[in-house]
């Protein structure tokens, strides 16, 4: 079956999101673009296995994520620390008046373990539901919820944010964890 013009158009339209997700995973824009390129080639080859009418973005994110982890395994997981990104940015200074600088935030995000970072990005930024994120990461919905919760707590610790808005971290993590049972 040939690739339809609609499929190609939809692929093109998803590239900005794919690149954003790839940068979030790799922390490096060159590596991210290589990852997106691999993803597009794979998606093109596997287009027959995509079910029209289902979520193309989620399907592409799944391919990109699988590609990322298979590359990491090949390189023996030396990817992140090899450029000293982690050590260099360990220190984040307390922000003034509780207003966070975007660079500080980026630095904090880089300190998260991959599984937590991808979970909080998928849920908090890419607009996926917990169910979709679980499918993309090939894990249980409860696992995504706890990763998001841990990522959030970790970011708060790194950035020294306490008592977020009206909702304290304890109330929120118990709310997130509580809904696991459902």
């Amino acid at each position: 079956m040939a690739v339809t013009p609609e499929f190609k158009r939809d692929l093109l339209a998803t590239i900005p999101s794919l690149r954003a997700f790839a940068v979030s995973l790799t922390q490096n824009s060159d590596k991210a673009d290589d990852l997106v390129q691999e993803t597009l080639v794979k998606a093109w080859d596997k287009h027959a296995s995509f079910q029209m009418g289902t979520n193309l973005k989620a399907w592409l994110f799944t391919i990109l994520r699988n590609e990322f982890y298979s590359q990491m395994r090949k390189r023996g997981r030396e990817v992140q620390d090899s450029e000293g990104v982690m050590t260099e940015r360990l220190a984040v200074h307390p922000s003034q008046h509780g207003k966070l600088d975007l660079a500080d935030f980026r630095g904090a995000l880089e300190q998260l373990p991959e599984d937590q970072r991808e979970a909080i990005i998928l849920i908090g930024a890419s607009g996926f539901s917990y169910e979709e994120a679980a499918e993309i990461c090939n894990c249980a919905v409860g696992t995504i919820k706890s990763r998001v919760s841990r990522a959030r707590t970790r970011l708060q610790d790194i950035l020294k944010i306490s008592g977020e808005a009206d909702y304290g971290p304890d109330a929120i993590s118990s709310q997130v964890m509580g809904s696991n049972a459902a």
Binding site: V3, K8, P16, L100, L102, F105, A125, V148, I161, E164
Partner: protein, 89 residues
């Protein structure tokens, strides 16, 4: 065949559709959708009320709005051309 007509309740967002003797009201659906939205706003741990939620979106939106290099459109055109060539063989 039954007549189909729409009635609008006065001063509320209810919409009723009459098909023959059956009246379908949208009122309940509207009300529950509204409260679902409100519930999400106030309990979403990464919602607008959260500094981390806001920064996360700002970080990501900045990445999404980055200019996309031409290489990707070129790549898809190459894949398309390769497929055409295969079909003609």
């Amino acid at each position: 065949m039954g007549r189909i007509c729409a009635l609008r309740g006065r001063g509320r967002s209810e919409q009723r559709v009459r098909i023959g003797n059956i009246v379908i009201s949208t009122k309940d659906n509207v009300a529950s959708a509204g409260s679902a939205v409100r519930a999400k706003d106030s309990t979403d741990p990464l919602g607008v009320s959260s500094e981390i939620g806001r920064k996360l979106k700002q970080y990501y939106d900045e990445l999404v709005s980055d200019d996309v290099p031409d290489r990707f459109a070129q790549l898809l055109s190459q894949l398309e051309a390769a497929e055409m060539a295969r079909k003609e063989d």
